[in-house]
């Protein structure tokens, strides 16, 4: 790994180790339908970051307060395969925060028409989105969200018969609309910087993520680290809305 002081020095001079401009994303490569047994799946490469999201559709009980709607569960695993500092064990606070943020952008954007996932009294389709980090070179939130949204857009609904799901017969696609995306923005010396690598994440103190829907509505915000001046929120929002359009094109 690179010495943090070098990374920081470069950033202060407005340069990045990989020669990108501050507002430039690494090459985004999305591949769909890569897991045969998953009802939906996608991998996202963002430079050396690699994330796989898989969607399993299962029979589920509805939540008591929404008896006629399908349920959504989002989980993220940071397996130790993805980085020398990841450790085996249950999800730590960063994995939990990531999963909850992806859950929130999916749920709050209303991209899944959950009311169409009702089967019969007490029985609904459950949509399980599992985010599996394979290689961590930073910006896991943007990458995981892209992978999850792509996977959901590739998801098919298995046929229900005799109290169980027929795994190889489908009744159609998961009813989805919108492609919400997070744009995570870092700040250094009053400059904004996007799509941080792992090394850059180690030296950037201020970090915020905006979840933006196709219609430019803000559907989720999370200050991830540090602090921001009250008056800069508008600038940050403009940047996020702008960039969300760009990366949404890859979906």
């Amino acid at each position: 790994m690179i010495d943090e002081r070098i990374v920081l020095q470069l950033l202060k001079e407005g340069k990045r180790l990989d020669n990108r401009s501050f507002l430039e994303y690494r090459k985004i490569e999305i591949e769909k339908d890569i897991i045969p047994k998953a009802e939906g799946s996608a991998s996202v490469k963002l430079g050396n970051t690699l994330v796989i999201a898989g969607v399993k559709v299962e029979l589920a009980q509805p939540f008591p307060d929404t008896p006629n709607e399908g349920i959504l569960v989002v989980n993220a695993e940071f397996p130790p395969i993805a980085h020398p500092t990841f450790e085996p064990g249950p999800p730590n606070e960063y994995a939990i925060e990531l999963a909850r943020l992806v859950d929130r952008i999916i749920r709050e954007s209303k991209m899944i028409e959950l009311d169409k996932l009702f089967i019969e009294d007490g029985k609904v389709y459950g949509i399980f989105v599992d985010i599996h980090i394979i290689s961590n070179d930073g910006n896991l939130l943007d990458a995981s969200t892209l992978a999850s949204i792509a996977a959901l857009h590739s998801t098919k609904i298995p046929k229900y018969e005799n109290n169980s799901l027929i795994r190889n017969e489908f009744i159609g696609n998961l009813p989805v609309r919108y492609k919400p995306t997070y744009v995570t923005i870092g700040k250094i010396n009053d400059s904004y910087i996007l799509d941080l690598t792992y090394d850059e994440e180690q030296v950037i103190n201020d970090l915020i993520a905006f979840g933006i829907r196709d219609d430019e509505k803000i559907v989720a915000v999370q200050k991830l680290r540090g602090k921001f001046k009250f008056n800069e929120i508008e600038k940050l929002l403009d940047l996020a809305i702008d960039k969300s359009k760009e990366i949404r094109k890859y979906l």
């Binding site: 430019e216 803000i218 559907v219 915000v221 200050k223 540090g226 602090k227 009250f230």
Partner: protein, 241 residues
């Protein structure tokens, strides 16, 4: 059961009779955990959190220490009896996220470098919940930190806002949190004009979001004054005890 026809606004008044920009009754009690370095109870209406700060104290085992600043540990927890349906005891995923979010706010409000190799433990217990529990906890921790004599940029002032039936309101109660269309949690330092906690979910246009922020900053002043007044009264009383 889904409350189908919930009216969150009627004649410009909210379900609990408040105006759009009206904060619930704020109640503060200080020093309620005598053995802690600082402690406070903070309420917005029926939402009540108790916080205690232990430290700055030496962090053990040593390999956890940081040579140039304090480590801050935060635990946000809801009592099992605080909610409508009993909450299972123990820390769930939501509590883990909120503890992280609160810790991040606190770390950015303290002069950490004044406490090398130390730990500052901040604990918040929500004993009664009616919306805005994380922000109630933040205010309680702010006061507990102040009483513990921890060196801070300023008191941390927290407030929530949201959107109900097309109106932006502040200090959401549970009903508004559940059935409104957006909610924002906001933690702010007046002295430095810095936002140290910001979370939002729901659906807001950029203009709505910015208006909500401006309302939050304006109304946070009320919370700020309440915090300062409570501290003044407490220290006054201490003096004559």
């Amino acid at each position: 059961m889904k409350k189908e026809n919930i009216k969150l606004l009627e004649n410009g008044k909210r379900s609990d009779g408040r105006n759009l920009d009206e904060i619930r009754n704020i109640n503060i009690e200080l020093g309620i955990i005598p053995i802690a370095n600082g402690s406070a109870k903070f309420s917005f209406g029926n939402t009540v959190a108790i916080a205690a700060v232990y430290g700055a104290r030496s962090l053990q085992p040593k390999f956890l220490q940081e040579d140039e600043k304090a480590v801050v540990r935060v635990r946000y927890n809801m009592a099992p009896f605080s909610t409508d349906t009993r909450k299972n005891p123990g820390i769930d995923r939501r509590s883990i996220e909120l503890s992280k979010v609160l810790r991040d706010a606190i770390e950015n409000s303290i002069f950490l470098e004044e406490y090398p190799r130390a730990v500052i433990d901040c604990y918040a217990e929500v004993i009664s919940s009616d919306g805005s529990t994380r922000i109630t906890s933040l205010n309680a921790i702010s006061l507990a930190l102040a009483l513990a004599g921890i060196s801070m940029k300023d008191l941390i002032v927290g407030l929530t806002a949201g959107k109900i039936e097309d109106k932006i309101v502040v200090d959401l109660n549970q009903l508004e949190d559940n059935y409104g269309s957006a909610d924002i949690s906001f933690g702010y330092l007046f002295a430095t004009d810095e936002i140290v906690l910001l979370q939002m979910d729901g659906e807001l246009k950029k203009e709505e979001f910015l208006y909500a922020l401006s309302l939050l900053k304006e109304k946070a002043k009320v919370v700020y004054e309440k915090q300062k007044e409570a501290l003044r009264n407490y220290l006054e009383k201490e003096k004559y005890d």
